[in-house]
């Protein structure tokens, strides 16, 4: 097994100590920090993603893997030059107004982060103005909205309207997710995309950034 593989395996097994020692080991030997991320840490998540999608791995395991990956990132990130640190893209994400559910949203945040995205997590019960202000402040390419309630999914439309009114709607692609939401609902309210789960959300974001 190569050293990259052993790092990837440590991520895959959610082995915090293993990730830390494998990461340090690679860096000590002068391996390029960017390679440590791409060929080691993210490669580990690439093993996890399809298994989660196929129902072979489960939510707590994915969280553990993402946290393990984060441990490695903490060590590598300070070593990156600013150009290297450039992310896969910036995503502003939050649960819409009136809705306090965050499990699904948090999972999407973790998966996106592990996919190299710069994620600004606005938390739960985010007002339309909250989203608008975050777009102005962070200039993301993508805005993700989450809702778990049929009563709050309508606030996705209100948030889109607020973006329109503030003149920032065409600066971003807006994607939505959450149990009561569907592709047809996304079409109906004029969102740019819908993802049924965290993995699909990552793929969707990657597709949007590619253009």
């Amino acid at each position: 097994m190569s050293d990259f593989d052993s790092l990837a395996q440590a991520v895959f097994h959610g082995d915090f100590d293993g990730v830390v020692s494998a990461t340090k080991n690679l860096l000590d030997r002068g391996v390029n920090p960017l390679d440590v991320i791409n060929k080691g840490l993210l490669a580990g998540m690439d093993i996890v993603a399809p298994k989660f999608k196929a129902g072979e791995m489960f939510v707590p395991e994915v969280m553990m893997c993402a946290k393990a990956l984060g441990e490695g990132m903490k060590i590598v990130q300070p070593l990156l030059s600013s150009s290297e640190a450039a992310s896969a893209g910036t995503v502003v994400i939050g649960t819409v107004a009136g809705d306090l559910h965050d499990i699904g949203k948090n999972l999407v945040v973790m998966i996106l982060k592990s996919g190299g995205f710069n994620v600004i997590d606005l938390g739960v019960d985010v007002s339309p103005e909250g989203f608008v202000n975050a777009i102005k402040e962070h200039s993301p390419q993508i805005v993700g909205m989450s809702a778990l309630l049929t009563t709050t999914m309508v606030n996705m439309k209100k948030t889109l309207d607020a973006m329109e009114a503030a003149g920032v709607r065409d600066k971003v692609k807006v994607i939505i997710g959450g149990a009561p939401v569907s592709q047809s609902f996304a079409d109906e309210i004029g969102a740019d995309g819908y993802a049924p789960d965290a993995m699909a959300a990552k793929e969707l974001c990657a597709k949007i950034i590619k253009g």
Binding site: P60, L149, T150, P180
Partner: protein, 268 residues
């Protein structure tokens, strides 16, 4: 034990399709199956029909009652949809799902509870958000109990829902609910409980197994109502067995009847 059949909910695909096609026959069939399987109440929820929830509620309630003479649990966060359903209830004491201690929701739902003398599902959450610990839930339960009883709602008509969250994201989500039930039961022996518990297993394999064990655990703490799929024979079998073991089943007749109905046929 109060079993509320959960199947008539437009977030379920076959129900959504039936509602869109106005297929009354399918709705009636599902209502009958749930009562035959042991449900005491039929939950009616069309919250996903965001743009015509009131109209759909009326249609569903009418059709369900054409099929079964059972009381209904009118399920919506929208007071207008609640009232539309309650107005048409013909059999027994209706149930409202649900009230919370969020100010706006409380103020709008309480008049309906009083007007229709309904049983009320009281969700342990308030404007500060979703509770994590048993103590958080208990604080909301105390407030709701005080406000509801002060308004004249009989204690026996209050059904506390302790708000079940997935153990896949917080390991202590299950035990906090068990603690809550115990605390509420100690402080208010006359109130009842209900919950939709399938949330507990979100994100994990073999969800039905976890749901079933959690029913048994919560029952042991004093839980006496569930919103679930009554046609799930394994689940209903677990409930009848648990009732017998907890001394809630005179001469174990419920359990024996379940045996005769074949609920345990695959066991040996």
């Amino acid at each position: 034990m109060l079993i509320i059949g959960e199947l008539i909910n437009t977030s379920r695909k076959p129900i959504k399709e039936a509602v869109e096609k106005r297929d009354a026959g399918y709705i009636k069939k599902i209502a009958k199956e749930q009562i035959e399987a042991g449900a005491h109440y039929i939950d009616v929820n069309c919250g996903t029909m965001v743009f015509n929830e009131v109209e759909m509620m009326e249609w569903l309630v009418t059709n369900v009652q054409d099929a079964v003479e059972a009381p209904l649990c009118i399920d919506s966060p929208n007071p207008e949809a609640l009232e539309a359903g309650l107005r048409l209830c013909r059999y027994g004491q209706p149930m409202i799902n649900s009230i919370t201690d969020e100010k706006e929701r409380f103020d709008k739902v309480l008049p309906l509870v009083l007007k229709y003398r309904a049983k009320i599902v009281a969700l342990c959450m308030d404007d500060t958000g979703m509770p994590d610990t048993a103590e958080d839930r208990m604080r909301v339960a105390r407030n709701l109990h005080a406000k509801l009883t002060a308004a004249g709602v009989p204690e026996e008509d209050i059904y506390f829902d302790p708000l079940v969250k997935p153990v896949s994201s917080v390991e202590t989500a299950g035990i906090e609910v068990l603690e809550t039930i115990k605390m509420i039961k100690e402080q208010y022996p006359k109130v009842h409980f209900t919950c939709g518990l399938s949330n507990v297993s979100y994100g994990l394999p073999n969800r039905k197994v976890l749901n079933r064990y959690f029913v048994v655990q919560t029952m042991a703490m004093g839980m006496d109502g569930y919103i679930l799929d009554p046609t799930d024979r394994d689940m209903m079998g677990a409930i009848y067995a648990s009732m017998a073991l907890l001394g809630q089943d005179a001469y174990c007749m419920g359990y024996i009847t379940a045996h005769r109905k074949g609920l345990y046929r695959h066991e040996s």
